[in-house]
């Protein structure tokens, strides 16, 4: 049980917010009016604004999955890189994930008999 001294009328009389707009003169203020006055009535329920994402969560997860592998290969030592590439070149034609045919940059190194 205690008595609090309050010097403002706003708390005593539950006055509304002082900035107002009517009939769509200033749409931002009208939005603010709704927000402020519902805050007063419902005792400050916090509005959680979720930022609209440009990229959805699913797509983000998919990209990350493939990205980790790609960036990881960058840091392999040269010997490991060649091993990886040779494994892939066992087939006649190279295809990446989208089934596009990769043109071979180098001819496969084989032993060439020296010509006299």
């Amino acid at each position: 049980s205690c008595i609090i001294e309050e010097r403002s009328f706003v708390r005593c009389e539950d006055l509304v917010y002082g900035r107002m707009s009517f009939k769509g003169f200033n749409p931002e203020i009208e939005k603010l009016m709704v927000q402020m006055n519902s805050k007063c009535k419902e005792e400050e329920i916090e509005v959680d604004d979720k930022m609209e994402a440009d990229v959805s969560d699913e797509e983000m997860a998919r990209r990350y999955e493939t990205l980790v592998g790609t960036i990881g290969k960058k840091f392999l030592r040269k010997r490991d890189q060649r091993v990886l590439k040779d494994d892939n070149e066992d087939d006649e034609v190279d295809e990446d994930r989208n089934s596009n045919i990769i043109p071979r940059k180098k001819a496969k190194k084989m032993f060439l008999k020296p010509q006299d």
Binding site: S1, C2, I3, I4, E5, E6, R7, S8, F9, V10, R11, C12, E13, D14, L15, V16, Y17, G18, R19, M20, S21, F22, K23, G24, F25, N26, I29, L32, M36
Partner: protein, 256 residues
């Protein structure tokens, strides 16, 4: 020293009280230590707080009246008592939203005239999204809607244009055009009451924008100068018009 015998606070609600009157509160709000100890040991639930509003001051057994006016009471929420008095001169109060006019720029601080005894100060960093490099574009003579951060009789009042979470929520520089005028503080409180008929009736007339400062200043902006002046005249006159006269005036206007 001894004031006259106090009257019960509930009996005086709605009546005129004068400075020096002592209002007694019901026993359960009493701050007597012994009484509290007894109650706690008996396991009684503690009673809620009481707000002692403007015009009243705590004194021993009850509330001491410091302004003349009508005593008002609000039973719900935290219960509150306050004195409803007429006043034209504004005294800065912490947390109040007011309209200020920029009178000077002194380095990093703006001086605003809010109608009180001293100009209030407003730092340029107290706007939303303001940094040392990104300064707000405030000129002398601009109107600012902000709230008091510090306002007591010992210090110069300070204003800010952001709330505690850093958002501006409608505060800041008030735009171009429009009309600023002054009314008494009682009318502002009437207009800001939750379901104000004056505002509701006016909102049916034309689209317009309105900013009400607790220091008695109102800023209005409508599409044409004539509409703005009509709204200004109605707001000024509504202090002394009865509801019936106001409705007649508005009916004439919407007829025109």
């Amino acid at each position: 020293m001894a004031a006259g015998l106090g009257r019960a606070a509930e009996a005086c609600v709605g009546q005129v009280v004068l400075p020096g009157d002592l209002l007694l509160l019901p026993a359960h709000y009493d701050e007597d230590g012994e009484g509290e100890r007894l109650r706690l040991s008996a396991g009684a639930a503690p009673v809620g707080r009481l707000l002692c509003g403007p015009g009243l001051r705590r004194s021993g057994a009850g509330l001491l009246v410091t302004k003349c006016g009508l005593l008002r009471h609000r039973p719900a929420g935290p219960g509150a008592y306050w004195v409803d008095s007429q006043q034209k001169r504004y005294v800065p109060v912490k947390g109040d939203h007011v309209i200020g006019i920029v009178t000077a720029k002194a380095g990093d601080v703006f001086k605003l005239d809010v109608g009180g005894s001293e100009p209030a100060s407003l730092s340029y960093l107290a706007f939303e999204g303001a940094t040392k490099r990104n300064r707000p574009n405030v000129q002398v003579g601009d109107l600012i809607y902000g709230q008091f951060l510090v306002a007591n009789k010992d210090m110069e009042p300070e204003m800010v244009c952001i709330d505690s979470s850093g958002k501006s929520s409608g505060m800041g520089i008030i735009g171009q055009d429009g009309f600023l005028f002054k009314v008494s503080l009682g009318l502002i409180r009437k207009l800001l009451a939750p379901k104000c008929e004056i505002i509701q009736e006016l909102s049916q007339l034309y689209p317009f924008e309105l900013v009400l400062g607790m220091n008695g200043r109102i800023w209005v902006k409508a599409k044409t100068v004539q509409q703005t002046l009509i709204i200004v005249n109605i707001l000024e006159a509504s202090e002394y018009m009865t509801a019936e006269q106001r409705r007649q005036a508005l009916a004439k206007l919407s007829g025109n």
